[in-house]
Amino acid sequence: MGDNPSRSTDATAGGSGVTGRHARPAGTGVSPSSYQEPPIGGGGAPLQRKARFSMETGFRGLSVSAGAMVLVIIVAIAVFLISKAVPALQANTANFFTDTKWFPNDAQPNFGIAAIAFGTVLSSVIALIVAVPIALGIALFLSHYAPKRLATPLGFVIDLLAAVPSVVFGLWGRDVFSQPVKDFSVWLNHYFGWIPLFGGDGPFGRSILLGSLVLAIMVLPIVTSLSREVFQQTPGMNEEAALALGATKWEMIRTAVIPYGKPGVIAAVMLGLGRALGETIALALTLGTVFTISFNLIQTGGNSIAANIANTFGEANAIGRGALIASGLVLFAITLVVNMAARAIIYRRREFRDSAA
């Protein structure tokens, strides 16, 4: 601690020395070849010849290969999944893409992903329809309505909720949330049974509705925290200009904040969709695992690719494992497309790249 001031004075002295040297008349010190004396203040040794192999090339190679590792892993995921899926697909006696049954462990394996792929997409889409408006409302509340003293801790809590493991939400959905959803389903069926979505004779309970609502609660914090960051980045000038023209607060949000944040919000929604499509355990605990294609939301039923893998992996034989890997490959392809689309949207508007990570 005591030597800090002296060091700083040294630095000042050195600095003045440098300017002194620079102040010499041109011609004496400008050309390096005309140096007669070694530099005073530690100028360093003459440049070394570049070695063929140095720490520099080694370190650069190491970091390049670490970067390339990401590409290797993505390619390897596809290659290994395909290699294990192909034998099962060859043994399959049904059409993999259109069949709805899942009997890969039989002597005559027949299985298809139509029902579970449908369930995956349906539950994710419903989850997003429920979650996105609420998430955007909270994001706007946090960025533009709430006082700062409330917004900061609330945003912190939202970030914490995004970290809660999915198995906890699944357990909650099965043990606590299923009863109110069941009552709600019975009510819907009683008064709105004429709509095919809410028809059927029961039993109600572990339905697409329950799974989707649990999913919605899970993606809510993610979409909220991403879009909140985007909304917060709206240039203050735009907002003030809108207000100065006499806009009400909502008109300011509609004309300045939302257009500016649109690409970021779309990307956040797509990322939430990617999360919902790949969600495994929460759906394995809340869906009814029925292999049918049905738009009925409230009857016991529903299934998804990921939940099916978690549920049936235990009793799968070699072909069954291959079949599950094949369905995982389809899931991988779907999420890859969704994520690449989301990233392409973010990349088109570069300024959002750093916020909507």
């Binding site: 809660v164 605990l285 994520n339």
Partner: protein, 362 residues
Amino acid sequence: MSMMTRSDLAGVAMTPDNIRTKKLPLGVSLLVAVVAFGLAAAIVYGAGIGNWVLVVVLGWILYLVGLFLAASRVEGSRAARNRSWQSLIYSACVLAILPLASVVWTLVSKGVERFDANFFNTSMNNIGARDANGGAYHAIIGTLEQVGIATLIAVPLGVLGAIYLVEYGRGKFANTVRFFVDVMTGVPSIVAGLFILSFWVLIVSPWFNNGQPRFSGFAAALALSVLMLPTIVRSTEEMLRLVPGPLREGAYALGVPQWKTILKIVIPTALPGIVTGVMLAVARAAGETAPVLLVAGGADAINFNPFDGNQSSLALFVYQQAGDASKYAPARAWTAALTLVALVLILTIAAKMLARRNSLTR
């Protein structure tokens, strides 16, 4: 301000009516609320179509409509729309907090039931359906070992990858890597589990195990590191970009080679941020169930060796107890869930605290 306007607009009487639009008094909105909920209760109980939940929902809708009508009479339609949207945004907040509060409340109230020493000291070995005790010791061991190994694999790779992207990466290849790091963030955990299943468990592990595929905690660690890698690369990249350029230039000017600049100047400057990112990635990995289920298999007994034989993890323990028919299983599941959430939240909060003390900010 008012002085200026008065002098500029001489001759215009600046009465309150002139400069302020009419405001809906608070009493009116309270009145609207009372009427709306009363009407909703009358409709719901009168027709017998539901219980108090429907009263609240219907009352809220009626309140919003009534408020809009009242406000548009007094304040004009633009102000009324403003008011309605504000109410909608506030109610979105309330609506979202309800289930999340329920999750937290259930977690704590059901979790403390078995939150005792026995739970943290015993495994599930030889615990039958009629045994009330049994605990998660083996699962905690599994989680710590798997996440630890995954961190050891993913951190060097991730930090080096980020160094490549920030310090060396130029041109098309770097952009491709950056794009696929982002895409890889969205790879579902079950796909990572299937990848390690088909790569490590089914192809590589038979080499060491007389041709038999073998589940292991190490395989789970591999799957978790696949999930952690993109998160670490992204957060480290962001932190490295925040290191001021003049720091690097200063080092180069002193003749320090680039690799030494990175290791001695850039990394130490960005270190708190990198640690924050790593802790968030660890927290996320600790909560993953699906990969562990697929490649570590789950176990009832304590297994300290991550390279040999089945292992469990806290998240997998929760899932397996949730599917168990024993009447004591739910209590164990909730206590394990509480433990898991506590672990994850402590990591996350510590990471956020560290981030707040970080001197490099946007």
